[in-house]
Symmetry: none
Subunit: 128 residues, 2 copies
């Protein structure tokens, strides 16, 4: 009874219906389906969607980043391989003189933020 349809869920979470389907496709928030195949968003999914948005905004991530983190979580071998490689990096920081990549990444993020705020703030109410 307390399950929302995709449009209702969109309005209460700040995502667009289109993005809710996309989020499902990348596997981050999936829902039950009604007999006719309608997505049913319960309180759990709504909460996950809100916290997901918070997570992305707060740390400047993309959905693909979270999807990869999830892959790291579920594939221990992958995690071991990646962590192992990174560990070797950490132990060999003899040259730390030019953190150019850091500035580059920051610039990218600022640009994304600028674009995001420059566009119409109608992500929630989009109509025609």
């Amino acid at each position: 009874m307390d399950a929302l349809t995709i449009h209702e869920a969109a309005q209460t979470t700040g995502w667009s219906p289109r993005m809710l389907r996309y989020v499902e496709r990348v596997g981050l928030v999936t829902t039950e389906r009604s007999g006719a195949g309608y997505r049913l968003y319960g309180p759990a999914e709504l909460q996950r969607l809100r916290t997901l948005r918070e997570l992305l905004d707060e740390h400047e991530l993309g959905l693909s980043d979270v999807a990869f983190a999830r892959r790291l979580q579920s594939d221990a071998g992958l995690r071991a391989a990646v962590d192992g490689w990174l560990e070797a990096t950490a132990e060999r920081p003899e040259h730390v003189p030019a953190p150019d990549w850091l500035r580059w990444e920051q610039e990218k993020h600022s640009k994304l933020l600028a674009v995001a705020s420059a566009q119409r703030p109608t992500t929630l109410m989009e109509t025609r």
Copy 2:
């Protein structure tokens, strides 16, 4: 001096010179520079480049994936936030009465956010 120039390094690692500069730009393998600014690839860097290629090929990753994993590693707040969100995904507590686990998740996220902002500054730079 047993340091190779970028072309020599490229030949022994399988990367192209172009990609070696790119790998440096995304911050995964950086080198020392000669007085004139030439990149100097020592045995350590060569090994890291070879294992990096192996890592990417064997798990079908991109450089950006590894870069993100590194970010997870160096920013504990980010890691806590992402892991926390993913943890909540793993369990689907349908048997638990809704208000309970919902509030539980909210609490967890507020706490994580608090932790994240508490230890935000300069988590990236001091890699020893």
